[in-house]
Amino acid sequence: MRRLLALAGLLALAGCGDDGSLAGGGADERKPKLVVSAASSLKEALLSCAKEFPDATLRFQFAGSDELAAQIRQGVPIDVLAAANTKLPEALAKEGKLEEPVVFATNQLVLAVPSDGAKVDSLRALERPGVTLVVGAEGVPVGDYTRAVLERLGSARSKAVLANVRSNEPDVKGIVGKLAQGAADAGFVYASDVKAASGRLRAIELPAELEPTATYGAGVVAAAKRPDAAEAFVDDLLAGGCHEALLAAGFGEP
């Protein structure tokens, strides 16, 4: 029964989310519509604050930040990009596709394991042969953070861990899904994802010397149709209701 409920919840989440669903109701016709492309890891936090944003009706698109950046390069009409790193927004800004980006939040990369019957209880245990590990693909922020953290372990340990990778997922939700389904023993995700998984996952914190802090950057797309509202939303991410929602969801101050 619990699994059924979880499944229903998953379906409901999928239904109300991914491809630019309307969030924030559309009661006020005069409000402009703002298209926000945001990293998958921001989903729960941003959906919870969307209704309170006063300046526009927000339409979200959640995916891996690299996919979202590629869409902006291809000219898909988007107003704001909120990425799970600063590399992608900075690169876009250099190409003239994005206004000067700002850092609006941080997140901790953690090792996530299923809450019940976990085979892995430490970073060390990840090096054992036979452990199945799921990570983000290269180019996806969570995948790049993971590889950077592993590199700081030294090449022998990092190789042993990477040898256990069984899937390179296109976004962080794919990792959470595989873990929640019991398809893998462990995965590298953000602390906020473990919090959002409502008890199904447990986080194992990574030592500070591995620099597991992820920095989130956002900017107004240069071709934004509503630059004013877009600017206001970036400000909201920095200091408004959405910033509060991010903190509540387990994100950190920049």
Partner: protein, 266 residues
């Protein structure tokens, strides 16, 4: 058609046809036109791209083998026997045809996922499904089999029953009748069904990603490799897409050749 009233209608038809043609062919042409052909071919030389093509070939072949081996006799049974609930059975078999890929992925996870009884039993028996190539084969088989079954049931159903009766009265065993009379007679339909299943299996994306994951050389089929590259290496994504377009065109052509007269008659 020569009247004035007929004249404007002909214009409407021509405009509609031109619009449909442009809309449907432009994206395909663009795959080949965006980059010089040399760049596309060079992008295919990358190790990951070759791994994806090789994996797609192996996984699709395995899925097709399973589909043909089990699907052909199953379709024959459904086409030649009349029993209560037959129509319901056929509808059930056809259901995955119209199922969205994401639903197929969730359904497979719920039925044979790693946390289910069946999934655990398979694992204990040494058959690793999730995050393994066997999982890709299961996903491809699940989504592609109905395409073959549907065609095969129709093809066996169209075999003249008197042929089968004649074979039996002449003393051929039912198995021999199936193999020597029914299969050869239904062959064009079976080939067409195989091609359609092949096309669907090659293009499978969502169920594979959800059920089997994405790992180079193990579970990352061509569609997953295209998605993986879309953000980081658009040229490589175009190159792999071009291969799939070429293969799909070849499949379609094969179907048209095999069923030529039938299609033309419609």
């Amino acid at each position: 058609m020569s009247t004035a009233a007929g004249g404007w209608f002909a214009v409407v038809l021509a405009v509609a046809l031109a619009a449909a043609l442009t809309f449907l062919t432009l994206p395909i042409v663009a795959i080949f036109a965006q980059q010089p052909p040399g760049d596309l071919i060079a992008a295919l030389g990358e190790e990951g791209a070759l791994d994806a093509l090789w994996l797609s070939l192996r996984a699709t072949s395995a899925a097709l083998a399973l589909i043909l081996l089990v699907g052909t006799p199953a379709a024959y049974a459904l086409a030649t026997r009349r029993f209560r609930g037959r129509a319901l059975l056929i509808t059930l078999i056809e259901l995955p045809l119209v199922l969205p890929p994401a639903v197929a992925g969730i359904a497979l996870l719920a039925a044979v996922g790693p946390s289910t009884l069946l999934g655990r039993a398979a694992q204990d028996a040494g058959l690793q499904l999730s995050l393994a190539m066997a999982g890709v084969v299961v996903a491809l088989t699940f989504v592609a089999a109905p395409f073959y079954l549907r065609q095969a049931i129709a093809a066996f159903g169209a075999v003249d029953p008197t042929l089968l009766d004649a074979s039996r009265t002449l003393g051929a065993a039912p198995a021999r009748t199936f193999w020597r009379v029914a299969v050869p007679t239904a062959l064009p339909g079976l080939v067409a069904g195989t091609a359609l299943a092949l096309g669907r299996a090659l293009g499978e994306f969502g169920a594979t990603l959800m059920f089997a994951g994405s790992f180079q050389g193990v579970t990352q089929t061509v569609p997953l490799a295209i998605y993986d590259r879309f953000a980081t290496d658009f040229t490589a994504a175009l190159a792999l897409s071009a291969v799939l377009v070429a293969v799909s065109a070849a499949i379609l052509l094969a179907v048209k050749l095999v069923r030529g007269p039938e299609v033309a008659a419609r």
